[in-house]
Amino acid sequence: MTDEIKPLILVIEDDPQTRRLLKTNLCNRGWRVIEAENGKSGLLLVKSDSPDLVILDLGLPDIDGISLTKRLRQLSDLPILILSARSQEQNKIMALDAGADDYLTKPFSTGELHARLQALLRRVMRTMNNMEIFQTGELTVELARRKVFVAGNEVHITPIEYRLLSILVRHAGLVVTHRQLLKEVWGGEHIHDQHYLRVYMGQLRHKLEINPARPRYLRTEVGVGYRLVDDEETNQCHF
């Protein structure tokens, strides 16, 4: 990350205490923070200040998180991190499908928050730099040559498996919903055929993981989707 310009983060959250906590925390990390207490002023700030990232609470008083995500997406491609309560499970998934990039369930630790923000900002860097090789732990994906290696040994994977993996690589460190994967690999008419995903992700896990029942790279987020663990995150989670 470049040090000269510190990323500007917009926090859209109606609860003043949570907002204060987030601001203190983020400023402490050297990020710049602007705040909005509702969806409307949040949208205005996105237009006027063009922040690098948005942290969006799902339970805003004026606009629901899903429509706000959609409207933010119409304005720009900036990363959106959703904050959701446990009871908003379904809304969270809908917001992710509507274009949000990742989520955190309240209550969350500062560590989790930073890991997510880093992953989101890295995604932006990656799309700008047009990544050719992705590496996390012992897993290497050569995107240009469509080759996959685990601990230096090439692993043969089928075209569908590769397509799934490449989508996850593109979103490394971030959650990718079932719907997103189904739509990109099998097409829009198969967004409900979750069993396709289960079968192919299972095959992929068995090829890439030492213990597929306790995967190191291809994490399942039950009810939401999958997450390819990114290198720095792996280090943070004690492995």
């Binding site: 446990r86 009871s87 499970e89 209550p107 075209p159 569908i160 397509r163 690999v185 099998w186 097409g187 055929d193 979750q194 069993h195 396709y196 289960r198 079968v199 992700m201 299972g202 896990r205 068995h206 213990n211 597929p212 029942a213 306790r214 995967p215 994490r219 399942t220 987020e221 039950v222 009810g223 989670c237 004690h238």
Partner: protein, 444 residues
């Protein structure tokens, strides 16, 4: 017919219809009379047969109706069954109307049924309902009759039926038949309303006991961490930096640990409340057990530390038709319990085995196990083996597990293994897995 044949063949002159003999004429007369009588008689027998056949049909119809109604679980279903049977058996369109809490009649369906009668006069229906009597409303084109569906002096609803021309309920037999028909419907409605009353009473008792248990849980299990949090944080705020950095960190750790415990407790209590209130309905999808185990272990990574976890899941397990989030919660609870109640560093085993028609998932540990005789008790609401232990918990974890597994048509129980600790066994039904044949071709 026999008379001309007789004339033609037997009476002289043979092979002519002319009859010469008086004797033969008499014979013919007798024959005609006999023929008439027999044919009359036969006709009557036919009629009788017809009637009994009709009766049999009606009995069958009533039998079918009662069969269908006995499976009905709510008013909507009763309405659907009644309307379609009335159409099939009487060729008439009809509709059932039910009263709301303020005794106003409404259509039971948002969407009209196939043979449902629309545009009836709700005012007349209301009159029927209030006055307990059949009202026939003659409209210019057709007439609609409103029948009260009455049982034990209580009107469950009103049936409006539009009779087509010529199919009026004129014959007394048909009226009796129709009455029986209505009676069956009323009976079913009464049964439903009684069941609902009983359920409500049960639910109320259940809620009451849950509320009491919740109160006691809150008073103890939530207050303890709160006391510690308030203690630690007031020390920090009021001390004016008198503490060493180490002491401050200690206080902060207490706050963090206790806050996390409270967060866990509140979600368990909320889940239990939602489950009891019937708010959590399994959202079933095809799920892979491997993923659910992996996700549960990932979630508990911090708590697991370096504890050895042995997973023994056979390859090619079938996909399960389950709510992944809920079943993950079950596994998380079981593993969490194993972490809490067994010595640090002792292994936890998770395995699965495919049996006939079901999948057995086991979580076993190397602790002390469950005291004998307590194997069922641990699943009770708010039951804890050591109520005052320092391990936070409200005794809801296993109750939740059982509620979730049972909502999937499965079972969960615990046993002690000789030389090992507790062994939790979950049995989940296996469903016919979806077809994947066309997959490969489509995506490539």
């Amino acid at each position: 017919l026999s008379a001309p044949v007789f004339a033609f063949y037997f009476a002289h002159p043979i092979f002519s219809f002319a009859i010469n003999d008086l004797e033969n004429i008499i014979g013919l007369g007798v024959m005609i009379v006999v023929a008439n009588v027999t044919s009359n008689f036969l006709e009557r027998v036919h009629l009788q047969a017809e009637i009994s056949k009709q009766r049999e049909n009606r009995a069958n119809t009533l039998y079918e109706l009662s069969q269908a109604l006995s499976d009905a679980h709510n008013q909507q279903e009763v309405a659907r069954i009644a309307v379609s049977h009335i159409y099939d058996d009487f060729g008439a369109m009809s509709v059932l109307l039910f009263p709301d809490h303020e005794f106003h009649l409404h259509y039971p369906h948002e969407m009209p049924l196939e043979h449902s009668l629309r545009n009836i006069n709700l005012k007349i229906a209301q009159q029927t309902y209030q006055q307990h009597r059949v009202i026939q409303a003659s409209e210019p084109i057709c007439s609609i009759t409103y029948f009260p569906l009455e049982r034990s002096q209580i009107i469950q609803g009103v049936l409006a039926i539009k009779l087509l021309a010529g199919s009026d309920l004129a014959s007394p037999e048909l009226i009796t038949f129709f009455d029986t028909f209505l009676n069956l419907i009323s009976q079913t409605l009464e049964r439903l309303s009684l069941t609902e009353l009983a359920n409500n009473a049960n639910l109320q008792a259940e809620t009451e006991s849950l509320r009491n248990a919740l109160l006691s849980a809150i008073s103890h299990d939530l207050r303890t961490p709160l006391t510690r949090i308030i203690g630690a944080s007031t020390a920090l705020v009021e001390s004016n930096a008198d503490f060493s950095a180490e002491a401050k960190l200690d206080f902060n750790r207490v706050i963090l640990d206790e806050a996390q415990r409270m967060s866990e407790l509140t979600s368990k209590i909320l889940d239990m409340a939602r489950l009891t209130a019937g708010e959590i309905i399994p959202h079933k999808e095809w799920n892979a057990l491997e993923e659910i185990v992996g996700s549960a272990l990932n979630r508990l990574e911090k708590n697991l530390g370096t504890r050895p976890i042995r997973t023994l899941l056979p390859d090619n397990l079938p996909l399960l038709w389950i709510d992944g989030v809920l079943v993950e919660q079950v596994l998380t609870n079981l593993i969490e319990n194993a972490i809490k109640y067994t010595p640090a560093g002792s292994p936890i085993d998770i395995s699965a085995e495919l049996l006939v028609g079901k999948l057995a998932i086991t979580v076993s540990d190397y602790g002390l196990g469950i005291p004998q005789g307590m194997e069922e008790k641990v699943f009770d609401k708010f039951y804890r083996l050591e109520p005052e232990s320092h391990q936070g918990g409200v005794g809801l974890g296993l109750t939740l597990c059982r509620a979730i597994i049972e909502a999937h048509g499965g079972t969960i129980h615990v046993a002690n293994q000789y030389g090992k600790g507790a062994l939790f066994i979950i049995n989940l039904p296996i469903h016919e897995p979806p077809n994947l044949n066309c997959l490969q071709g489509m995506a490539e």
